[in-house]
């Protein structure tokens, strides 16, 4: 279904709330991990998916941005011995976050239709 934009504010609303690719990676990782989603686990998932190093700084600042957009909720979890008695920053994808991630995924699928990148 094609989206109808009635005025400029609709456009800016969509641009402001649009999920970026790194945000999408984090949302996907957090959704896959479910109740076990926290900083270090999400980082491992993202690194495994992209085969690239994910900086903690980028991860935490993106989590803040997602939280400000209302796409995830975060809270301090319990401390564990393997973390040196430090607490985890737990992450949960909100309903809005799931909708935005789904919307981004569909947009990428639509954009990639009939495109061949010539990769082996």
């Amino acid at each position: 279904m094609r989206m109808q934009l009635t005025n400029a504010s609709d456009y800016y609303h969509i641009v402001d709330n649009m999920v970026g690719e790194f945000e999408y990676l984090i949302l996907s990782a957090a959704a896959r991990l479910g109740d076990d989603a926290y900083g270090a686990a999400i980082r491992r998932e993202v690194e495994e998916a992209t085969k690239r190093r994910c900086s903690i700084g980028a991860l935490y600042t993106t989590l803040d941005r997602l939280q400000n957009k209302g796409l995830v909720e975060t809270w301090m979890g319990e401390a564990t011995p393997q973390r040196g008695g430090r607490a985890k920053r737990m992450v949960r994808v909100t309903k809005k976050g799931a909708q935005e991630a789904s919307s981004f995924y569909r947009a990428i699928m639509r954009a990639s239709r009939n495109v061949s990148w010539g990769m082996q």
Partner: protein
């Protein structure tokens, strides 16, 4: 290069120290993630620095750090620069007297020791008041500035050195007693020496203002974690310390009203001593908090 030259244990100490520049929750989660991932040394330092820089740059988009810079850090920088210069000039005279001019004949003179006994408490009081004022200013900014405290830190230090070197703007001369040109009264010979005129005040500003101030901004986070009663006590102590700081540069301080009749009859302490209240209260509350704190290993 750095990976090979600097031992891992030293890098880990830097990691721990750098992570203190983060908010307590960020520090907790980040250090836990690093421990769980087994990342240490140079890689851990890069991760921590990355987050610290991102947090500080991110805070520049907020209004609060800029307000604090304008309303708190810059005025406090001016005040500290004035008091630091006054303390430097005052102590430079004695320093010159006792280091540049001593000889055995002078040492045998009773007056030499009497003057030394008279000046030492004053120099000590001025120095400790300056350190405590700087620490209290740092604690205050560290408490209220949250993520953007480094903007205020850079602002205050810049003002401190610029005002100390260039002088205070003429427009502020009615509140700040130090003008562009210093009047050395009968001690001009001391300040013909470049060290006492230009270098010594900067050294004093660095060790008595900048270092205590930076220490205070880092410890300011701990003040936010105090219970309500502790924070209330700290608020009163901050007002007393900053009040003492302001009073030292006002005409009230210049006239030494507490030394004049009938105020002297009450035996009031000089406002300079009030400057130590903020730091003393912080040290006391921190000691109580540390005593009641649960050891980290027992939390897991």
């Amino acid at each position: 290069m750095t990976r090979r030259v600097i031992p891992r244990s030293i890098l880990n100490i830097w990691v721990a120290r750098t992570s203190r520049m983060l908010e307590p929750e960020d520090q907790e989660a980040l250090c836990g993630d690093l421990a769980e991932s087994g990342v240490s040394g140079f890689d851990a330092l890069c991760d921590v620095m990355d987050l610290v820089i991102r947090r500080q740059l991110g805070s520049l988009r907020e209004v609060r750090p800029w307000l604090l810079l304008t309303l708190l850090a810059i005025p406090l920088g001016f005040l500290l620069s004035v008091i630091s210069r006054e303390t430097a000039d005052g102590s430079a005279i004695y320093l010159w007297l006792y280091t540049d001019n001593w000889n055995l004949d002078l040492v045998r003179t009773p007056g030499y020791w009497r003057t030394l006994a008279e000046c030492l408490p004053n120099v000590y009081l001025s120095g400790s008041a300056l350190v405590c004022s700087s620490l209290a200013a740092g604690l205050l900014i560290g408490t209220v500035a949250r993520r953007g405290r480094w903007l205020s830190t850079v602002g205050l230090i810049s003002v401190l050195f610029c005002a100390g070197t260039l002088g205070v703007p003429r427009e502020l001369s009615f509140v700040l007693t130090l003008g562009r040109a210093r009047d050395y009264f009968g001690n001009a010979i001391v300040f013909t020496n470049t060290f006492y005129r230009a270098v010594y005040p900067q050294i004093l500003a660095l060790f008595f203002c900048v270092l205590p101030f930076i220490y205070g901004t880092n410890k300011g986070i701990q003040v936010r974690n105090l219970p309500h009663s502790g924070r209330f006590l700290m608020s009163i102590a901050f007002v007393a310390s900053v009040g003492a700081l302001v009073s030292q540069s006002s005409s009230w301080w210049f006239l030494h009203l507490w030394d004049k009749w009938p105020v002297d009859f009450l035996g009031l302490p000089s406002p300079m001593q009030m400057a130590t209240i903020g730091s003393a209260t912080y040290l006391l509350l921190n000691a109580v908090r540390s005593r009641n704190a649960v050891p980290r290993n027992s939390r897991a």
